[in-house]
Amino acid sequence: MINNTFFINLIRFVLLILVQILVFNRLNFFGFINPMVYVLFLYWYPIKKNRTNFILICFLLGLLIDIFSDTLAINTAATVSIAYLRPSIMRFVFGVNYEFQSFKLNSSTRAQQFTFLALLIVIHHVIYFTLEIFSFANILLIIQKSITIGVSSIILCLLLSSLFSTKKE
């Protein structure tokens, strides 16, 4: 069982990076919208896992995306931040339920899943574009990019997650 989840996560890791760099980084919808779907890795990752490993894996994920897309280390900073904040976000979204052993992402409501995903993406994108543009004079541009690209990321992540979701029993 442990091996099984390990391999599933490994395959997810590789596939999400490939899909991100080969498909979504080249989308350029309206000339500038490139949704970031690799955030789904953090959404799908098992909840009851070692936090240290999780942060290190996310660091590696961000670093690989950065190497491929020539974006310095902006993706790394954003991904590590949401990896660190993930338990707090989950406590906020799922309440006390999330502390129980039996809690699973599938057993929560649609609205909760959506809020969780949306919060991950919004925080990620705000950090990403703040670092990318890095000037307070362009704060409107940061907001505009975070919103437009954030919305497109959320839509695509929802589509992908419903496409590959495991069936509820």
Binding site: T52, I55, A73, T76
Partner: protein, 273 residues
Amino acid sequence: MQQIINFLIRYKIFLLYLFLLLISLIFTFQSHSYHQSRFLNSANYFSGNIYEFFDNTTSYFGLKEENRKLLRENQRLRYQLYNKNTDTIQPLDSLENNYLVVRGRVIKNSYSDQRNYITINKGKTDSVEQDMGVITSKGILGIVENTSNGFSTVQSILNEKSNINAKIKNSNHFGSLIWNTEDYNTVQLVDIPRLVELTIGDTIVTGAMSSIFPENVPIGTIKKFDLDTSRSFYYIDVDLFNDMTNIESVYIIKNLNREEIIELQEETEINDQ
């Protein structure tokens, strides 16, 4: 001591997070200043080969268009060749020439970020080095920034750090070519003095001041011009000849006199002080 260890254990995840965040911020800001990060770029063996593998598959779909482009370029070059008055033959000995040209292919293109980089499939083994100019058959593309054995990254002209010497064709009024990150079809030419007469549609080419590009490589045409805030220089929007979203074949140009020029300039600067 006990307390310090307890503190470390309790906050180990937070400390790990701070440490990793610090690493990524150092990588980011160290290269904000001038060059792209030396470690984090797609010109390495691993990412270069992945991009090349996928580009080999997808490049088939653009072959027809690419062929047409190259044919058009050949036509133009042949026209120039046959109508040349002098019949001197270029010496084949590379020591007598000023420029070397290497051909290459784009395997990864980007134009929607603030700092766009292009990856090409030629590297150190093809004698591509940092600060060589990259052009296409239509106009300039950028400057080589990092190289590995088989691949290089190119700082595109669509990069907020890009700064290239350019001038108005058939005159010697030069300025700097920059990008305001807004539109991937338009770059900006600044520092052209106010007394120059401009017309919309004038051609912009690379200037002679650059030790990277040869003179008179086409860039684009004037789309719109206005005076800048100091009221003494123009701020010109230049419509690019290149379609930056669709680039396949490129030429990498090496100026063989570049080292000499730079040496001379440095010497002059030292003497001035």
